[in-house]
């Protein structure tokens, strides 16, 4: 009997050993093969648990588990990343662009197809975030984080809690409204108010949205992006649109701030891991992507980043500090009332940016400038004539 138990235990142990070695990085042969290699990861700034604030340093952990070194660099915007990639000045193995940029990269044939046989953890991704419009067959991208835009307001300074984007057109808040300083996000708000699609290709729709923004311009305190943090935390503005995850860090510094998903709907973004063409080490890149989807790793990362995770094990983990947080994980009704940015064709982009330029230029009376400028020119001409006159006088003297 004793013998049987020990044999059973042995079998059990070896079985558990086998399940443990199922992960590619625990197999010694894999490790030997990839140890000393490195991958280049190109991500947004402060967008990975890096060991600060008591988190796990995920890149170091990846190296520890696989022996692959991570060469990690940052970018500030999708556009920066795109420019760098397009210029061909550097090669990357993993990049993490947003939805519309993924679509553009796919359209321009700049991404490698991911071998999903190597992404064994892909089943952890919530079905909601699979096969999205930017990658309909889900061959090129693996969702990393999800975020939504909402309306942040200062509960002590509003007359009543807003529930609609139209609060940003309310004259009583004139001079206390902050607005996105980039065309796509700013137009999105106007499009929600008007009930238009964010991805419309019709120039007339953009014209309507532009008129709405122009109408709003006199009420705007400033067009800003990350200054929103400072201004909202210091009670310098009452209303501002921003991302849910960032609202939580503002709320830490100013308890009067509240957040609402406006009833007209809002847009959400998905940042997804992709492998660009020209990768030097596709297998290692796929291992990195798979590693990011490990339940414990994804949890560490979600705790650090504060945006919503597309990972079901994280979402449903009661130990997660944002478990069922209504701001980060809103109810199904809010989630249903959302749109995602798609890549716009060049002509539509042109229409949008021309309107944005006009918005930045319009709405002011330039007469004063013209008058002053005219006066300055006349002054300069007078000065020149006077100098010439004086010169001639000296010449004759």
């Amino acid at each position: 009997m004793k013998r049987l138990i020990s044999i059973l235990t042995l079998i059990f142990m070896s079985a558990s050993l086998i399940t443990a070695t199922a992960e590619p990085w625990d197999s010694p042969s894999y490790k030997a093969q990839l140890t000393g290699e490195y991958i280049n990861v190109y991500n947004w700034g402060e967008y990975i648990a890096d060991g600060s604030e008591g988190t796990l340093d995920l890149n170091a952990e990846f190296t520890r588990r696989t022996g692959i070194k991570v060469n990690y660099t940052n970018y500030a915007s999708n556009e920066d990343m795109y420019a760098k990639l397009k210029s061909g000045g550097a090669t990357y193995d993993v990049i993490i662009p947003s939805d519309y940029m993924v679509q553009r990269l796919i359209n321009e044939n700049m991404l490698e197809k991911i071998n999903f046989d190597n992404i064994t953890n892909f089943h952890y991704i919530d079905d909601r975030y699979k096969n999205l419009a930017f990658d309909p067959t889900n061959e090129f991208s693996v969702p990393y984080t999800v975020g939504m835009v909402g309306l942040i307001y200062n509960s002590e300074m509003v007359s009543e809690a807003p529930d609609s984007w139209t609060a940003m057109w309310d004259e009583q808040y004139s001079g206390d409204i902050l607005m996105f300083n980039n065309p796509r996000d700013a137009f999105a708000i106007s499009q929600f108010v008007l009930g238009l699609s964010l991805n419309t290709h019709t120039p007339d729709d953009w014209a309507l949205a532009y008129d709405k923004l122009l109408e709003q311009k006199p009420l705007i305190q400033s067009y800003v992006m990350d200054e929103i943090f400072n201004k909202m935390e210091n009670n310098e503005a009452i209303l501002a649109p921003y991302y849910a995850g960032d609202f939580l860090s503002m709320k830490d510094n100013n308890d009067a701030l509240e957040f609402v998903y406006p009833k007209e709907g809002t847009n959400y973004f998905v940042d997804a891991m992709c492998i660009p063409k020209g990768t030097q080490n596709k297998t290692a890149a796929e291992m990195y992507i798979n590693f990011m989807l490990e339940p414990d790793i994804a949890l560490e990362n979600a705790e650090y980043i504060y945006y919503a995770s597309p990972h079901v094990e994280v979402i449903n983990n009661p130990d997660y500090s944002l478990y069922q947080n209504p701001v980060i994980y809103p109810d199904a009704e809010t989630l249903a009332n959302t749109q995602i940015f798609e890549d716009l064709p060049t002509e539509t982009m042109q229409v949008m940016t021309n309107y944005w330029d006009e918005l930045k230029i319009d709405g002011y009376d330039y007469t004063t400038y013209y008058v002053c400028f005219g006066a300055a020119i006349i002054g300069v001409i007078a000065l020149t004539i006077y100098r010439n006159h004086k010169k001639h006088k000296y010449d004759y003297d």
Binding site: I220, S222, T353, K360, F373
Partner: protein, 276 residues
């Protein structure tokens, strides 16, 4: 005077010439190329024609540039003159103090101004504490001009100071002997003799303030964008390199005209000015 340059001298100059061709001439040619082509690379004047929509911004940028230059000159000339009258040690300390803030990045300095000028910033908090009504400073044209004066004024002080400090003291004494009072010494002797410094100072303040960006976005709240911001937007968010290039090209031509005009104030034999 002119010597025919030896082979050795030419070899020494070669790296600089190559450098200038690659990093100055080639980019300028690319700007011109983009300005006159469309996205597909075909010749077009569309980008230049489209500029009439940006006339207001051009005028505003130039006007702000003029204001900035005038304010800088009004502050910088007396300052440069005053320090040049002090002992050498005092002079070097003052110039040092002028330079120290420039060791910091101008983005950081501009960001600090945001905190100083904002509605709940240092100035307004102080005003409220002593019972005055707060003043609206941030997000106004005044804030933009303040930011530009603050950032670019040292470029006005330095050339003026270098001209005044090199001035022959005997000339000033001669003027005094011939009956000039202090004011007349300045207006009749120091001021005319420092014209080369003033001209290069004006150029060095006017050019960057017309083409500046960021300051106007941060201190003007994105509502008083200048031509620099517009150019930046064409490249960063609109991907309209062609329009961006044509705005840049026209801006460069305008600035060249301005500088050519300023240079008529300095005759060739005068020294101390910076030839641009």
């Amino acid at each position: 005077m002119k010597k025919s340059s030896s082979l050795w001298a030419r070899l020494c100059a070669a790296p600089y010439i190559v450098w200038m061709i690659i990093f100055i001439a080639a980019p300028l040619l690319m700007v011109a190329y983009y300005a006159f082509t469309d996205a597909a690379g075909n010749f077009t004047l569309k980008n230049i024609v489209a500029l009439d929509g940006y006339a207001g911004i051009f005028i505003r940028s130039i006007w702000y540039g003029i204001i900035t230059t005038i304010i800088s000159l009004i502050i910088a000339f007396p300052f440069a003159y005053a320090i040049s009258q002090k002992s050498t040690k005092y002079q070097s300390t003052m110039i040092m103090l002028l330079m120290v803030p420039m060791w910091m990045n101008f983005l950081i300095r501009t960001y600090s101004w945001m905190n100083i000028l904002s509605d709940n910033g240092i100035i307004n908090t102080a005003l409220k504490a002593i019972g005055f009504a707060p003043i609206e400073m941030i997000n106004t044209p005044g804030a933009v001009i303040l930011g530009m004066v603050y950032n670019f004024m040292p470029y006005m002080v330095l050339p003026i100071y270098s001209v005044i400090s090199k001035m022959d003291r005997n000339i000033i004494e001669a003027a005094q002997d011939l009956g000039c009072n202090k004011l007349k010494v300045i207006t009749r002797v120091v001021l005319p003799m420092s014209v080369p410094g003033i001209v290069s100072g004006i150029t060095m303040v006017f050019v960057p303030s017309v083409s500046t960006f960021y300051i106007s976005q941060k201190l003007g709240g994105g509502k008083y964008d200048l031509i620099g911001d517009t150019i930046e937007r064409q490249f960063q968010t609109s991907y309209n390199y062609n329009l961006g290039a044509s705005i840049s090209l026209v801006l460069m031509i305008l600035l060249l005209v301005c500088m050519a005009f300023m240079n008529t104030f300095t005759s060739d034999d005068e020294e101390g000015g910076i030839v641009i």
